[in-house]
Symmetry: C2
Subunit: 370 residues, 2 copies
């Protein structure tokens, strides 16, 4: 019977994903500690939001984080001090970054080099400069016993097994030819409503408003419509497939923000003027309809050609991308081994619970490897 | 810089999957040995078919297995002697069972207890008696440092990430409500041809003949039509979801072999008489067509009710199961977190290369954990 072991967890971010993760963590912890083979105790030793933080100098676990955070007046630790605090913990440490903060992402190489492992849904770490990507993965030991591990399943498709599947295709020697899909829950919802398979659908600007009201868009819908979120996900997948993509703006990305509205000073002004451009979108829809097709906002990577692109495309009504429902994502991997019919993964690609699930799943993987 | 490490691999089975695996292994090995972090050398030390085997008493690697196997006159080692040979190897050992042999499966607990890890697509190990399932997983240490690891992704859906996804849903605390899908490439091909979405399709017996000619069925197509292969896969998934399924015959499984033909003495006799029953299948098809549906051969697990079943069902033409192509598999996980729209995985679920990919992927996981 091996000795029980303790792993320390530090969490940054307590928004929708952060809270869902903390709840999954407490559930998972009790299973781990009851495990008959190699019981593991995970201790939450730090929790930080953008405004405050909780932690104890003696690494005493935060068993009641909710109340402690409420009561706390401690500001967040600056990143270098955070690293120092964690590296002195009396055991292995996993940093869970549930933010979408670029500064935290930029500090990953520092944490990893100190042997701290990282699990995160933070796209910015893997879709920014190619230099940061290289720094992260050269700092990560991933098994060498030197640097920490880094896992980021939820940075694309939330809890869907997209990144693990792509990595396995590559590592087992398959040749990935093309990756194609709908990578944004917002864009999925918008176009499934704007041009549903069965016909009908409202004006584009009205669908944007509905999506915002339902909470499917960012507070400012332009942050979805500019295509950058999808471009970041494509950057990650293309890099995993072996392409040295410089940044999410180094390939063609179609923005759905009309040129004339780029200068709007607020999201509200933008939304009030968007109906003026419904005619263009209606034309697009009618054109697709004439060919028996539907319009969808997709991203694709052509690996042999080294081409990445993001934007509107037309799909046959029998195509799996056309048949998507609600705000689901769909990701198709065309590979040498899979031949004509791609390996497809489909389902909710956004939301606190499913995003947190990808993070919790990654944490379990790290715990097994540590 | 950590020291390079050596892991010994023993392979049973050199059929379609076995040969594809050996080819992937040689590709993967050279990547592993070139890895800058923790280079790993994998040495093939034993290869065994049903008729002969190759291995060296001093564990010298088989660098040219093809020629050595050809030249060998050594019979396969009996399983207890195989275990003894492997346990004395000067390092960690992974046994790759690329057979569908029940005797090998029955010996897994013995291997695992001795610290030998197992990766395999062999369904019989996980879909036989519940006692064997329990023996395997209690012998496996899976991290405790005592028993070996056991991974079997390819036992359901070949290389598709079905088992890893289900395990992650369960381990991260999601509630799996229903698993449903097409789990057999043969059944997929048969019904996609018998009643294609666009209408048409041949007589059922003719489609069975075509499938056999194309190599999509077992040598005796009755081994597909009896539903047992699908029942085995459902047994595995139901058990992973927490149900104590006694055996693949302990729940309703619809056989497509007409009662009157159960006594046929050969596959050829069966095929010659099958056309007499085309009328029944045509009726079924017409009935579904009238409702705007198609007939498909599916398996499902209702987890809360503890119900598993395998057989023909009708699906709306807009259902993803109806839209399946070629010989693809589709697996839908309905869970609490994923809500109305299930997490779906789809693609080729049979074939040497993709099955071997699941095995190679599992091997890489074990190598990281060892």
């Amino acid at each position: 019977m091996p000795l029980p072991r303790q792993v320390f967890i530090a969490v940054i971010g307590a928004g929708g994903v952060g809270k869902a993760f903390l709840s999954q963590l407490s559930q998972v912890s009790s299973n781990l500690s009851r495990s008959t083979s190699a019981p593991t105790y995970v201790s939450l030793i730090l929790l930080s939001t953008s405004k405050k933080s909780i932690y104890h100098a003696d690494y005493k676990p935060l068993n009641n984080w909710h109340a402690e955070l409420e009561a706390s007046a401690t500001p967040p630790l600056p990143l270098p001090e955070l690293a120092e605090y964690l590296v002195k913990a009396p055991g292995k440490v996993v940093l869970v970054d549930n933010t979408s903060n670029q500064d935290v992402a930029d500090a990953y190489p520092t944490f990893l080099k100190k042997g701290i492992s990282i699990v995160t849904p933070n796209k910015k770490a893997f879709s920014g400069s190619y230099q940061l990507w290289r720094d992260i993965f050269s700092a990560a030991g991933n098994g060498s016993g030197v640097g920490g591990y880094v896992f980021h399943e939820s940075s694309v498709g939330a809890g869907l097994p997209v990144i693990s599947t792509l990595k396995e295709l590559v590592e087992t020697g398959d040749e990935v030819l093309k990756i194609e899909g709908v990578f944004s829950g917002t864009m999925s919802f918008l176009f499934n409503s704007f041009q549903p398979l069965g016909g009908g659908g409202g004006k584009f600007s009205a669908e944007v408003k509905t999506a915002k009201e339902k909470g499917y868009t960012e507070p400012d819908p332009r942050d979805d419509l500019n295509g950058l979120d999808v471009a970041r996900k494509l950057t990650i997948l293309a890099r995993l497939a072996g392409l040295e993509v410089g940044s999410p703006t180094s390939f063609p990305v179609q923005s759905l923000i009309p040129k004339e509205l780029e200068s709007c000073s607020s999201g509200d002004e933008f939304l009030s003027k968007l109906p003026e451009f419904d005619g263009q979108m209606d034309e697009l829809k009618a054109g697709a309809e004439k060919e028996g097709k539907v319009v969808r906002f997709v991203g694709s990577v052509d690996v042999p050609k080294g081409e990445v692109k993001v934007g509107l495309e037309k799909f046959d009504k029998s195509h799996p991308i056309a048949a998507l429902k609600g705000s689901d994502n769909i990701i198709a991997f065309y590979t040498k081994r899979y031949g004509d019919n791609p390996l497809i993964i489909q389902g909710a690609g956004a939301g606190g619970e499913v995003t947190a699930m990808g993070v919790t799943g990654d944490l379990l993987k790290v715990l097994r490897l540590l």
